[in-house]
């Protein structure tokens, strides 16, 4: 597959995030002996997994020039469903969770397509509704998830395991789809200019539906990763994911107004975000500074992307 045409510039967008991740990794390695330890690397993979998957879903929506603020709530709901049902259903609760995620995506799409509600506000509303449902289902953290799930999926939290494989497959597949299929191209097209896309025969409602389904489904997968990690349900645990997912995508060079960005950039962005936190802890830096640093790095990255880019953005 040839990275020609639009594929190359999109790949380039992911470069800064990659460099950032490498830089943080280098710093952490030099100043902390623990960074390159089997234990830590294993932890890092497990932390990247849910964020990267959620961010991938978010990115797909951003490619289409939309946005999904319900990712966090869907993750919470997923853990709640897992926590409540896995005792009886066992492995069957996994497809159930995925279905729930898709349903949330469909709900978002319905609002955006049928009611023509702005995606930002529609998904905002959805996240409230979904959070409410999660709280009805599981008013407080709890529910039992069998240890079998943990052992089967995370095993000994080693570096090479299912999580790594899952990340690799998900992003390889995404790269193929968004670089080299008409479906992926239609998503970019809608994002870069909706009217033009429509005029070029893109089925706008169809694409809207697909991106929100993808985002909802992937959020559910991320939710499963979290739920298995904590072996229980937690109706609030997902909250922080929404912004982190967007941050990861944007750090990875995905344009908020749609049409531009590569999935590998998203992965790099997720890794960078995870590494920032890890480095702060391992280097015993003032934890209060962590948030400030994240904010500043964010701004710096954005300035990088925005240089010479003129299309005005919301």
């Amino acid at each position: 597959m040839q990275p020609r045409g639009s594929v190359r510039p999109n790949l380039m967008l992911g470069l800064p995030a990659l460099l950032l991740a490498l830089a943080i990794g280098a710093i952490a390695t030099t100043w902390s002996g623990d960074f390159i330890s089997a234990g830590n690397l294993g932890n890092l993979v497990n932390r990247v997994l849910p964020l990267a998957i959620a961010a991938l879903g978010e990115a797909v929506v951003l490619f289409a020039g939309r946005i999904d603020l319900s990712v966090g709530s869907v993750i919470s709901l997923s853990t709640a469903i897992l926590g409540v049902t896995s005792a009886q259903l066992g492995w069957l609760s996994i497809p159930l969770v995925i279905l729930a995620g898709l349903a949330c995506g469909a709900f978002n799409a319905a609002g955006v397509i049928l009611l023509r509600i702005n995606p930002l506000i529609m998904t905002l509303a959805t996240s409230a509704v979904v959070k409410g449902i999660a709280l009805l289902l599981l008013p407080s953290p709890g529910g039992e998830v069998d240890y079998g799930f943990y052992d089967a999926f995370y095993g000994q939290d080693q570096f090479f395991g299912w999580p790594l494989l899952l990340i690799a497959c998900a992003f390889a597949a995404a790269f193929a789809i968004f670089g080299f299929t008409h479906f992926g191209r239609s998503i970019y097209a809608l994002g870069s200019d909706g009217r033009a896309a429509f005029a070029n025969g893109v089925n706008v409602p169809g694409i809207d539906l697909s991106v929100f389904l993808i985002s909802g489904g992937l959020a559910a997968v991320a939710g499963l990763a979290v739920g298995i990690k904590i072996l229980s349900g937690d109706p609030l645990i997902g909250d922080s994911f929404t912004l982190d997912a967007i941050a990861a995508a944007v750090l990875g060079g995905v344009a908020l107004q749609g049409g531009r960005g590569s999935v590998f950039g998203v992965l790099a962005g997720a890794i960078a975000l995870v590494l920032i936190g890890n480095a702060f802890n391992l280097l015993e830096l003032n934890t209060n500074l962590q948030q400030i640093a994240k904010g500043l790095i964010f701004v710096a990255a954005l300035m990088l992307f925005m240089r010479g880019r003129s299309r005005s953005l919301a």
């Binding site: 990275p3 045409g5 639009s6 510039p9 008409h182 191209r185 870069s192 005029a199």
Partner: protein
């Protein structure tokens, strides 16, 4: 099988028409845009569709191409009932439309735009990027378009976007090709290429409908002309059966003796209004010229030879690097649009949708900016003045609208351009910079705009006219500078004006057509 022998249709010669349109009507809200329009196109025939701005041409073509359905009437394609549900469906049936508003995807490469929808795939169904871009380059070569398949859509100039749009349609070797004002933003050379491409398709047996406000093109290319006026069909004649004046009469209901204002014999006495001394800007070699009060300096050239940089620099958007600009002998620092306006420079952009108008705001707000700010500065708004001014402007420019509170987005291209112009009614600028001032504007509106330019020059305004429309340049200018690769390669005085003379200079010193991207 639908009834297509309506009175409006001439009896068919041998064979069914490629496309037959019968009693099609369409209304947007209260605004009846098409009234029982009927006409037909034969295979291997070029039909020219002309009419004033807002006559309904684009709307009619959108219906043929499935962008939206008609309210009433019927269509038949090669005899079979034709009701496309979407542009896609229409394309599948062999009807391709190149829109007046181009629909190039900015974040895809030219090649990807060209093949969007049927990209070459490999066994696994993945797109073959290399093959795709090679095929695109081949097609451009065949059509003589100087375009590179790997450039991104966002980098293209208006003309280049238009050319890609046409290539997209032609690539499909459609049964019916519809081009909506394809040449509006093209230089005469590019126009030739487009007309040639149309001829090639015609030879291959396709039918072509093309819309243009440039009647000389129509006279040259059309086998058959159809004229719309206020949504109704007013003329439907074979080649030879209509003259330029017939068309104009059918369009505007009157003949226009000469649409250009008379030029004063000699301006040598007039004082110098604008003087530009070896000014440079990105894409412009050092440039010098002086412009007298009441004089019109035309700037001609192939597309992308420095017209845009010149227009933007003169209006203070992307200022000159060096050199001196003086107005009435007073040097000015033209570092921003505001300074330009303060110094008495008015400018009309070529891309009205993005650079000229707030499409979602009413005509009133779009038109009244200068009238208001000259009265109120930054202080209280003079609402009464605004409405009065907007009303005057609407009537003076015959802006077709439901009222001064109608959003500009709902106006047709030409009427939108009138709004941009009308804004300057408030000022009497010292220098007027016009960049493609009548792009997509019909004869009627053109005449009004030309008259306005005449009045302004009579009042001592110096005009810089940057245009790809030869007739316009020749008709309006007192002097024509020809640009090539950012430099003036020659200047013609009024007696020397002729399309040939201009083309010779425009082709560059060696006469080769190099393309400056």
């Amino acid at each position: 099988m639908i009834e297509i022998t309506s009175p409006a249709l001439k009896p068919m010669p041998a064979g069914l028409p490629r496309l037959a349109v019968a009693q099609v009507s369409k209304a947007f809200g209260a605004n009846k845009v098409l009234r029982d329009v009927s006409f037909s196109v034969r295979a291997g025939e070029i039909v020219s569709l002309v009419g004033e701005n807002g006559a309904g041409k684009s709307t009619l073509m959108h219906i043929c191409a499935g962008s939206f359905p008609a309210d009433g009437g019927a269509m038949a394609l090669d005899g079979a009932a034709f009701r496309p549900a979407s542009p896609k469906a229409a394309r599948r049936a062999g009807v391709a439309l190149a829109l007046q508003e181009t629909s190039i995807l900015p974040d895809l490469s030219v090649g990807e735009n060209l093949f969007f929808g049927d990209e070459p795939r490999n066994g696994l169904g993945f797109i073959r990027q290399k093959r795709l871009h090679e095929a695109a380059d081949a097609l451009f070569a065949e059509m003589g378009f100087a375009l590179k398949s790997t450039r991104m859509g966002s980098e293209l100039s208006a003309a280049e976007r238009q050319m890609v749009e046409i290539a997209k349609a032609i690539r499909l070797k459609p049964r019916l090709l519809i081009l909506d004002e394809p040449t509006a933003s093209l230089s005469s050379h590019e126009t030739e290429l487009v007309l040639a491409a149309m001829a090639r398709l015609k030879a291959q047996g396709s039918a072509v409908i093309f819309i243009s406000h440039r009647l000389d093109e129509v006279m040259e290319a059309a086998d058959h002309a159809v004229v719309l006026k206020d949504g109704a069909l007013t003329l439907d004649a074979e080649r030879g059966a209509f003259s330029r004046d017939d068309l104009i009469r059918a369009m505007v209901g009157r003949t226009l003796a000469d649409i250009f204002p008379a030029r004063p014999a000699d301006l040598a006495a007039a004082p110098v209004r604008l003087s530009v001394a070896n000014a440079t800007a990105a894409g412009l070699k050092p440039l010098s010229f002086a412009l007298r009060a009441g004089e019109v300096a035309g700037f001609a050239g192939l597309e992308g030879q420095g017209q845009r940089p010149l227009a933007r620099a003169l209006s203070g958007i992307t200022p000159f690097h060096g050199g001196e600009i003086a107005i009435d002998g007073v040097p000015i620092r033209l570092t921003s649009v505001a300074r330009g306006i303060a110094a008495g420079i008015a400018s009309i952009p070529d891309d009205r949708k993005h650079e000229g108008l707030a499409l979602d705001l009413p005509i009133r707000m779009n038109v009244s900016l200068f009238a208001l700010s000259r009265r109120s500065g930054w202080g209280w708004l003079a609402h009464a003045l605004e409405r009065r001014f907007a009303e005057t402007a609407r009537q003076r420019f015959a802006i077709r609208s439901t009222g001064i509170d109608q959003p500009v987005r709902q106006l047709s291209g030409g009427n939108q351009q009138k709004v941009v112009f009308a804004r300057w009614l408030a000022e009497t600028p010292k220098v007027l910079v016009l960049y493609e001032p009548t792009k997509g504007v019909d004869v009627g509106a053109k005449t009004e705009i030309y008259r306005l330019i005449g009045d302004l020059t009579a009042a001592g305004v110096a005009v810089v006219l940057i245009s790809a429309d030869m007739l316009e340049l020749i008709g309006l200018s007192d002097r024509i500078h020809v640009l090539f690769e950012g430099a003036v390669t020659g200047t013609l005085a009024r007696p020397e004006f002729s399309e040939e003379a201009i083309m010779r200079l425009a082709a560059g010193p060696e006469g080769v057509l190099t393309h400056a991207a």
